[in-house]
């Protein structure tokens, strides 16, 4: 099982190709407000995260995830 820090770093690597404005990432970084992703980008990114961690993030769960920190917590839970 990965540590929270390792998960965050792996998420950050997956964010990179979609981070057009090179926004600095923290737990509080919002996908919609800071990274300014539209629904299509979110869809591609979620698929990438699912494959990276070999998990499923249902659309029901996605609705609750707004920030990078919340995603890291969700991934930690799903991996565990």
């Amino acid at each position: 099982m990965s540590t929270r820090e390792e998960i965050f770093d792996r998420i950050a690597t997956q964010i990179e190709p979609f981070n057009k404005k090179k926004v600095a990432l923290s737990d509080g970084t919002s996908f919609a407000k800071d990274l300014e992703w539209d629904s299509l980008t979110v869809m591609d990114f979620v698929a990438a995260i699912e494959d990276e961690f070999d998990i499923i993030i249902t659309m029901n769960m996605q609705a609750e995830i707004e920030t990078v920190g919340q995603l890291a917590d969700a991934v930690a839970k799903l991996e565990g």
């Binding site: 299509l40 869809m43 698929a47 499923i56 659309m59 029901n60």
Partner: protein, 400 residues
Amino acid sequence: MTDLLSKFDAVIAERQALLDTGVRDPFGIVMTEVLSPTEAIIKGKKTILLGTYNYMGMTFDPDVIAAGKKALDDYGSGTTGSRVLNGTYQGHKECEDALKEFYGVDHAIVFSTGYQANLGMISTLAGKGDYIILDADSHASIYDGCWLGNAEVVRFRHNSVEDLDKRLGRLPPEPGKLVVLEGVYSMFGDIAPLPEMVAVAKKHGCMILCDEAHGMGFFGPNGRGVYEELGCEKDIDFVVGTFSKSVGTVGGFCVSNHPKFEVLRLMCRPYVFTASLPPSVVATAATSIRKLMHAKDKRDHLWKNSRRLHQGLRDLGFTLGTETAQSAIIAVMLPDMETTVRMWQALLELGLYVNTARPPATPAGTFLLRCSLCAEHTDDQVDEILGMFATAGRAVGCIG
């Protein structure tokens, strides 16, 4: 007080900016007269219709119209009631019988629209604790069916058998699972690799619903859809369809051989809590469906039209959504909204109506002019259409 509509300010501003450039409103077309399945009068101009989904051209069929008029006389203008209360007339049963015969199945349920058919079937089949697995490019009615229910929703990459397999493999084995597929995807007009997808879904113990809205009428030996053409009839549990495309009226349906299917009439909220279709509508639908069983010549001509338009547009230098004509939808890909609207307007002024489509309705941020052919388009009309695309494309600078 917070104005609840202020969240749409950005959309209002974007739309105004577009209209301020002097273009016509692509979402404000009014047809003042409709001459046939392929021609209408728009702003006083006779216009060829190439964006109606009226694939089989049944809207002006004399038998269809006669059946509608008779039902209007015999049964009145509307039922004013739910299918499960006072809203089931002889015509509704006859329409369901026509569907059963057309599809060669035991059960058929008619809904008031195709949208409601997906809402009702998907939200009712998959309940709390079950999973719905859907293609990322699914139609809005499929997504909305997911939101209306309580199931867990999982998406896979468009038409990717491998991605579907991978995602199904990550799900727990016990819960019920519904895989939702479409025969034809309506934005690019591409078809699904159904045999491979069905095999993967069955391997993981899923039930399968296939939406054949854009496939009914001209795919497969009996016109049932892509799933018939590709030989998946035994493996698809539920087929959803619509009357608003090849059938030429409005309404939706689901057909199935499942022995417990009829219970859904009591459980589907979008079936129970709405008025049933007017008698004239089910009469036109039933007549049209019966005629579609014997429409080989029309099917052949529709395919000929689709292939000719696809090849012709390619030859002119347009970029299209598919390599070959996979369905009767041909999507012309354009770089941005402005070019799309300019091209759309140039075509309209020459006398051709097509659909515009833009994100988020389209996949991958693409801008499209979406053309859908009709079996009633003549060879001459296809020539005219290509001529108008050539003129407009050169005027706007999309092609050389």
